[in-house]
Symmetry: C2
Subunit: 365 residues, 2 copies
């Protein structure tokens, strides 16, 4: 097999500085584990807008379609707040998701033992937490037409967005959730608002059907998304895999991430259908945002982005053992007490810089 290719889109804010640390990790795997990658870099978000006037150039989009995996930092920042909707940094990310057809967004919410005290939740509620949220990522209200702001029949402006889900869109992300569950706790909880929305009724019906026909041995439950939000806060360990739509997934995965107290630590994978070489189309990115307030100060935590590369090793390159190795290295530096600024408790201490954290993880490897 030829050298696998990686496209790095560092993006805005702290994106470039955390990506610098990921490069160190990638280089280590090339040098020490004979796992070389053909790495290229390009622009996305505000960084792309500054150069091209759009948050993702067509050539970058084309490159993303060709590589084996994309690694993304973060997009957005106050500098771009007043841009027109169509060229906002976020549109670059949304275009990648849509055109690569990355319908299954895996967002693990894991609580690292060494960090359980950082959660605003009681330690026994979150210690050892390990759930996986599977969010549908290419449809629903994020992409449905009609959409926009226009003047209605009464002469008033009206803002419109459309939630739209087809049977096959629901079925494929449900399959992705059931497949994951089989390799984890064998339990899926599907969340929607079938009591209020017809799209939720179809969602529930299709998830149930995929279950009954293809995954009868996985335990399946359904929950209204508002109750799901409550239950995540009350006792998150009741869940194993949660599958939900694009918008609910956006909210619920952020709530779940915050519960762990480890926001700067959480990676994500966005996967599509298999390419010719058998690998899924894939984009990996940290759950955290571009954090413009601390950008360029060496304060950012590179771990979420590094663990996103670990997910790439696992889901794109079939290197589960190497992914484990990288995750263990991260756990080790945390257990050793190394902390970036975001992980400083009220008792203080002296934080390490972004690059010191990256170096320590390389050393632990």
């Amino acid at each position: 097999m030829s050298t696998p290719s990686l496209l790095i889109l560092a993006g805005d804010g702290i994106g470039p500085e955390v990506m610098t640390e990921v490069r160190k990790i990638i280089d280590w795997f090339g040098a020490k584990r004979d796992l070389a990658f053909d790495v290229s870099e390009d622009l996305v978000g505000g960084a792309a807008y500054d150069v091209h006037g759009v948050p993702l150039a067509d050539e970058t989009m084309a490159k993303a379609q060709e590589v084996d995996a994309v690694l993304l930092g973060a997009v957005g920042g106050p500098k771009y707040d007043d841009l027109d909707f169509s060229v906002k940094p976020e549109r670059g990310l949304l275009r990648l998701r849509k055109e690569m057809d990355l319908y299954s967004n895996l967002r693990p919410a894991q609580c690292f033992d060494a960090l359980a005290d950082f959660s605003s939740l009681k330690k026994d509620v979150v210690a050892g937490l390990d759930i996986m949220i599977v969010r549908e990522l290419t449809s629903g209200i994020y992409f449905g037409e009609p959409r926009g702001i226009s003047v209605n029949a009464s002469g008033e402006r009206e803002g419109v967005n459309t939630q739209r889900y087809t049977e096959s869109e629901i079925a494929r992300v449900a399959r992705s959730a059931f497949e994951l569950a089989k390799r984890r706790g064998n339990k899926v909880c599907s969340m929607e608002k079938a009591n209020v929305m017809e799209s939720g009724i179809l969602w529930r019906e299709i998830v149930q059907k995929v279950h009954d026909e293809e995954y009868p041995d996985v335990e399946l439950s359904h929950m209204y998304a508002d109750a799901g939000g409550m239950q995540l806060c009350r006792w998150p360990k009741q869940f194993d895999v949660i599958v939900t739509d694009n918008l609910f997934g956006d909210l619920l995965s952020d709530v779940a991430a915050m519960l762990t107290g480890s926001l700067g630590m959480l990676p994500s994978a966005s996967l599509g259908a298999p390419m010719e070489n058998g690998r899924p189309k894939a984009l990996y990115e940290p759950v955290h945002g571009s954090a413009p307030d601390i950008a360029g100060q060496g304060k950012a935590n590179p771990i979420a982005c590094i663990l996103s590369f670990a997910m790439a090793l696992r889901y794109s390159f079939d290197q589960g053992a190497e992914a484990d190795r990288l995750e263990k290295a991260v756990e080790k530096v945390l257990a050793d007490g190394l902390r970036t600024a975001d992980l400083m408790g009220p008792e203080g201490g002296s934080p390490v810089s972004t690059s010191a954290m990256g170096d320590a993880i390389v050393a632990a490897l």
Copy 2:
């Protein structure tokens, strides 16, 4: 002024039994404080379906339009799970909200001192918490057309719902939030997904405009709803009033309610435009659901419903002092250690029944 009128719709599950306790409170105010109400009762939800074949009869709807305030228990239960969408118990509640045009849903998330330990969050994160979520209740994706499940051009079934907000719908709920803020901490945070949805862009623009033109002295901030969910879990005390749309409000208010650890304690008010007598159209209901699993066992906590009546005293009948009196009575029985089953900690103890809790509150009055 003639005797104010109240329509009680106890509904399903624990609705009737908690409402029995509210009746005791209403009777006490009539007998001891010269605050008589003209009370009538009717059916909603599954209870109405069982009799009328619809979850809200037209005559009940007409009555609700005429009274000064509606007091609702809860709707729904497994018995009705397989009913057609159009006659599900929830449709009765949604019809009341829509036809009474109750656009402003006030959901206080308050942490009772005596109960701070019940939260899954750390005590210092929630003790003393007192925020107010103002949820738009008559528009958005709950009611937008087109909606439904139909076969699309590719021959596949598709579920569709439409988020639709006009300028005036946004402006009136924003006003309601700013008015509340003036009587509280003078701070409003508006939540949407303006980075992804055009309806969110219009929402942000109009909230800002109402602020600038009518409430420049209230502090206003904007947050994406996913970040809002995170911040609610991280440090909820940063908020005073939160204003948001119907669907985000559904999720975020449930998350906020769960944070307090006092779900069985939280009331809500749904208010519309002033009627001829100057009172707003109004419906009051607990935030909790119908809890079919414990219905009829005397285990339900009547406090949320009793505090919903306190909100009625305050917002419909201009009896703020009497509302305070009732809220103090509730605090007193809690401080005295009285607990219904839902408020039993892991250390156990002996819970009091629904009716014993009601009696104790009457006694404390």
